[in-house]
Every structure is written in structure tokens, then in C-alpha cells.
């Protein structure tokens, strides 16, 4: 077997177990099956081409995710996503937990996965990716830091704000809105 085949063998062994996870993240980022497939395909092509430059002993998973993320960010969809949603300052103080865990409790009681999925979907891309890397991919802060090329402190603050943003989106709408909607419905009936 040639040296190139050996390299392909080890790339396959390392890269293919990540296929489902990479596709899942790609779909979350792009919101589109075709774009997710293009993104994953380009990621594998770039990774295979640059595999000789991968330093043995370093984190291959973080390396693959970093390629996927960079490819996404330089794509049209990625640029649009990052341009339309400005990122707040990174050095927010620690988040104080809410006293009444209304959104969490509500979520747990209802177990409404679709509601949670659409709430994650609505998050800005910087929040969505850090949340998914932590909760779904179960990456450590260090791994996320390597994947996103940001300091661990930034990972922590971004994660904290992502969770807060998710809770805010899951918070029940205020009563005023409900009343207003009801009034509007009534007015429509009248028309």
C-alpha cells in the first residue's frame, strides 16, 4: 500500500466518524439541506487536501470543525449571517440566574422539542454554534476555544449569553401581547 493510501486510510479513520455531527452542525448553520451538503463536502475536500499539514497529536475534531466553520463564514450565507447580527461586547459580567425558572420549567414541563429547536434556530449564529458545540457535541471549553479560535474566557461569556438569549426566547409572551392580539382578533371579527 502506498504512502498516499496510508494517509487516506488514516484520514478516513479519523474523519468519517465525525460525518454525522459535522453535517448536523452544517445544517444548523446554513438552515438548508443543499447548502449543508455543499458545506460538508467542501470541508472534507479541504481537510483531505490539507491533511498533511495537520499536526499529529493535536485535536483532529477541533481541526475539522474549524475548517467547517471557516468555510461557512466565508460563504455567502455565512457572511450574511454574521453581517446582519452584530456581536455584543464579549466581556459581559457573569450572568445571574433567574430566580423563577419560568422558561426552563415551562420547557421541561411541555417537553416541546420543536419550540426549542425553533428558538435555537433564531439565535444569532455566534450563539447557535457555541451552544451546539457545548451541548450537542459535548466539547470542552478548550476544544470550543480551538474550534472558534477565541480565548476560553470568550467561550464562557458567549455561552452564558447564548443560554440567556435562549431562555429569553422561551419565556412566555407577556399578557399585554395576548390581550392586544385578542383585541385585534375581535376587531377583525367586527370587520
Amino acid at each position: 500500500m502506498s504512502g498516499a493510501d496510508l494517509q487516506l486510510d488514516s484520514f478516513e479513520e479519523l474523519a468519517m466518524p465525525l460525518f454525522n455531527q459535522l453535517y448536523n452542525l452544517a445544517h444548523w448553520l446554513t438552515h438548508n439541506r443543499e447548502e449543508a451538503e455543499d458545506l460538508v463536502q467542501e470541508t472534507y475536500a479541504k481537510a483531505l487536501k490539507g491533511f498533511s499539514s495537520f499536526k499529529s497529536g493535536t485535536n483532529f475534531r477541533a481541526w475539522m470543525y474549524r475548517i467547517l466553520r471557516n468555510t461557512f463564514l466565508s460563504s455567502r450565507t455565512g457572511l450574511k449571517a454574521t453581517m446582519t447580527v452584530p456581536l455584543d461586547a464579549e466581556n459581559d459580567g457573569p450572568e445571574i440566574a433567574v430566580e423563577q425558572d419560568t422558561p426552563d420549567t415551562l420547557l421541561c414541563e411541555r417537553r416541546n422539542r420543536e419550540l426549542l429547536q425553533s428558538a435555537i434556530d433564531e439565535l444569532p449564529v455566534y450563539f447557535r454554534e457555541v451552544l451546539l458545540l457545548c451541548e450537542v457535541e459535548e466539547m470542552s471549553y478548550q476544544e470550543i476555544s480551538e474550534t472558534l479560535s477565541v480565548p476560553i474566557g470568550t467561550v464562557m461569556s458567549r455561552l452564558s449569553r447564548a443560554r440567556k438569549a435562549l431562555r429569553d426566547r422561551l419565556r412566555p409572551q407577556p399578557q399585554v401581547g395576548t390581550i392586544t392580539n385578542a383585541m385585534e382578533k375581535g376587531a377583525n371579527h367586527g370587520l
Partner: protein
């Protein structure tokens, strides 16, 4: 509140990201504090819910097969193909003995040129080759602010045959850079700019004239930046655009 300082660390604690000693202290606190234990429980439930909801998309078997084929060496070659490859390998070896003195330096360089060619072709094949669409260099250049870690100058094209179509961000060897598209007599030319120090060390010569590429290309370094000009336009056109860019930088 007494628990404010604990609750500020609750997520970090639940992520298992605090040191062992603090973890033990925190464990003890959570066990004895009703407020924190309830909070911790709901956050754990939230984490589990996100984990379940997050595993949402599954690739098709067809797509997996396509990727698998692209990364797996094909061991099902026929004898004939194997024989042909063996012959080819011998030929390469023979040719290699005559050119071995040049190969070491060229391999890395050729890989970069190959990547540049890929970027040029892939961009032109795209339905949206540029993300900032403008013929005005004063619109295109500022668009890159905050997207790439360097600045560069674009030439005035008023009395030339070239026109600027726009630009996009690109990556080469995990290095961010600028990709500009110019037009000359319906030929599209890519201009790619990267930081020299971020690129492979094999590109250490100031000016190279790559041979055996499917396109005409010129590359040089100026002010710490590496420029590539590539396209199917004539070598003279590529050279003219390169001169304009050199004069502007």
C-alpha cells in the same frame, strides 16, 4: 442574595469546567442549598433538552456514500488498472530522477498554485462569485474591513481596459484573504491577496512565474502581502493588471 456568587458559576459547574477542588465545594453547596439545587436541576434538564433537540439533522445515505468515496482509497482496482498505474509509477520514477533536484522546493509551491487555481475556478463557477458587487474600489476595499487581518490598495482603472466586478473573502491554508474579480474583454481575472507570513514557507521568492498551469498566473510579494493574479486572459493582460496592482501597493 447569598447564592449570587454560586449561581454565577452554575453553568460552568454543570459543564464540568471548574477545578476538582472547587467542584467538591460546589457539590456540597448545591446539596445543602434548596435554591441552587432547584436551579441546577432545571439547568441540567435544559442541557439535556438542548442535546436532544440539537441532534436534529441526519445526512442521507447517498450523501454519506459520496463523501466516503471521496476519502477512501479505491482498493477494487482491476489488474489492468493496477498494471497501468505501476507503469505510470515507473515512468514517474524515471522522470523523477531527472528532476529530483527541483522537486523538493516545488511540491509545496505547486500545492499553493493548485489551491489558487481551485479558488479561481470554484469562484467563477459559483452562482454568486462576489459578495460585494461594485466597480468602485472605494466601495470594495472598505468592505473587507474587519473581515481580514490586513489592508491593501486597489489601483485606479479609469484609463485601462480592466474593470473591477467586486470581491469576496477567501481562505488559503486556513489563512483569511481577499479575493477580487476583474474583467477584461469578457475574461474574468482573480486577484487574491494574503499575508505572506501566514502562507507556506515554500513561497519565499519575490517573484515567480508558475509554469504548467491551466491559466496564466503572476505572483509576487509586496509590503508583507502575497498577491496572486490568475485568469484565462492572455499573459500580457495578466501582466498589465499585475503592474497596476504593484503600482498601487
Amino acid at each position: 442574595m447569598v447564592c449570587d456568587s454560586w449561581q454565577g458559576m452554575l453553568d460552568t459547574y454543570l459543564d464540568g469546567e471548574i477545578p476538582d477542588e472547587e467542584m467538591r465545594t460546589y457539590d456540597a453547596h448545591v446539596r445543602n442549598c434548596p435554591s441552587c439545587s432547584v436551579d441546577a436541576l432545571t439547568r441540567v434538564q435544559m442541557k439535556r433538552a438542548i442535546q436532544l433537540a440539537g441532534k436534529r439533522f441526519t445526512p442521507t445515505a447517498e450523501f454519506r456514500k459520496r463523501i466516503q468515496q471521496s476519502v477512501v482509497p479505491n482498493r477494487q482496482r482491476s489488474f489492468r488498472l493496477g498494471w497501468m498505474l505501476a507503469t505510470a509509477a515507473v515512468l514517474i520514477l524515471v522522470v523523477g530522477t531527472f528532476t529530483s533536484s527541483h522537486m523538493g522546493n516545488r511540491s509545496g509551491r505547486d500545492q499553493v498554485f493548485s489551491e489558487i487555481t481551485d479558488l479561481h475556478v470554484a469562484t467563477l463557477a459559483s452562482s454568486s462569485p462576489v459578495d460585494v458587487i461594485s466597480t468602485d474600489r472605494h466601495t470594495v476595499k472598505p468592505w473587507f474591513q474587519g473581515k481580514i487581518p490586513f489592508s491593501f490598495n486597489l489601483p485606479e482603472l479609469q484609463n485601462s481596459e480592466f474593470s473591477l466586478l467586486g470581491g469576496r473573502m477567501t481562505y488559503l491554508d486556513q489563512t483569511p484573504g481577499a479575493h477580487l474579480i476583474y474583467d477584461v474583454r469578457k475574461h474574468h481575472i482573480s486577484v487574491l491577496v494574503f499575508q505572506e507570513r501566514s502562507l507556506p514557507a515554500s513561497l519565499d521568492e519575490n517573484s515567480l512565474s508558475p509554469k504548467n498551469l491551466p491559466f496564466n498566473m503572476e505572483t509576487w510579494t509586496e509590503g508583507g502581502l502575497r498577491y496572486f493574479v490568475i485568469g484565462d486572459a492572455s499573459a500580457a493582460d495578466i501582466n498589465s493588471l499585475a503592474k497596476l496592482l504593484r503600482a498601487a501597493s
